[in-house]
Amino acid sequence: MSECNHKWEMVDIRHGYLVIEGCPKCGGRSAFFSTEAIAPIDEYQEGDHRWIYLGSYQATKFNFRCIECGKLVELGDMMGLMMSTCDDPECKVVKIGRQAGRNTWVYVALCADSTHASGKCVSDEGIRALNEYFNQNISVPGKRILVVPCSLCCSIDRCDGIVIADTGLTEIY
């Protein structure tokens, strides 16, 4: 077990597109990051899923490296972040936020597969590093950022929140 009190910096910052696909059969959503000049638009079969292009938006991906010990945490499994505004009392994200207190802002780390059929989500190590990074320089006394994985959402399609994404920013929401 590392004894380093990690001090994270953002590294490997890549600019590209987050491409969202949907399967009409199961209602699942899938996402992948593309660094191509134009976001790819494809329709293809993958196992039981028929993935259809739903949209894309400019996005940025990054990893973390500890400036003290050099440890690298890759966030390839994270597709975005969402400020939680959900008020469903049955939602685990809401319960965690309420337990954390009123000066805590809950953000959901979104993984590539909303169905979580594979049992995977953003890694525990990634979630830990996100929490440490976004809290390490906060200047407002008492303020805390709490990042949780999207596997805790009541439903990624129904869970209320503000996705940090460069899409629809000129529209009325």
């Binding site: 400019q58 940025t60 802002w105 953000y107 976004f134 200047s139 996705v163 940090i164 920013l169 929401y173």
Partner: protein, 109 residues
Amino acid sequence: MKLSELVEKAEVKAINDYKDKDFEGVYISDMVSDIITGAKANNLLVTLQTHKSLIASANLVDVAAIVFVKGKMPAQDVIDLSNKAGIALFVSPVDTWSMALKLFNMGVK
């Protein structure tokens, strides 16, 4: 530099109640995905963007205040979210370049 000095010297207009405090450095961007990788805690953010998503990103990186240029005015629910997050909001009629020049001439680095 204190936010009250920003109001006085850069001639920006406050659109919410704010606690006067020091800010450190400036970040200019209209992309929320860029803000979370580029802006630093306690920065002053200069932008044209008025979407609610901007506040979600500014709050995540603990931005101290936001200046909306070219007279862009955010909607009331955006102001409400900023109030909750304790992020000071200002409006200026000048464009982004002119605001950058003003801040530079004020000694903000």
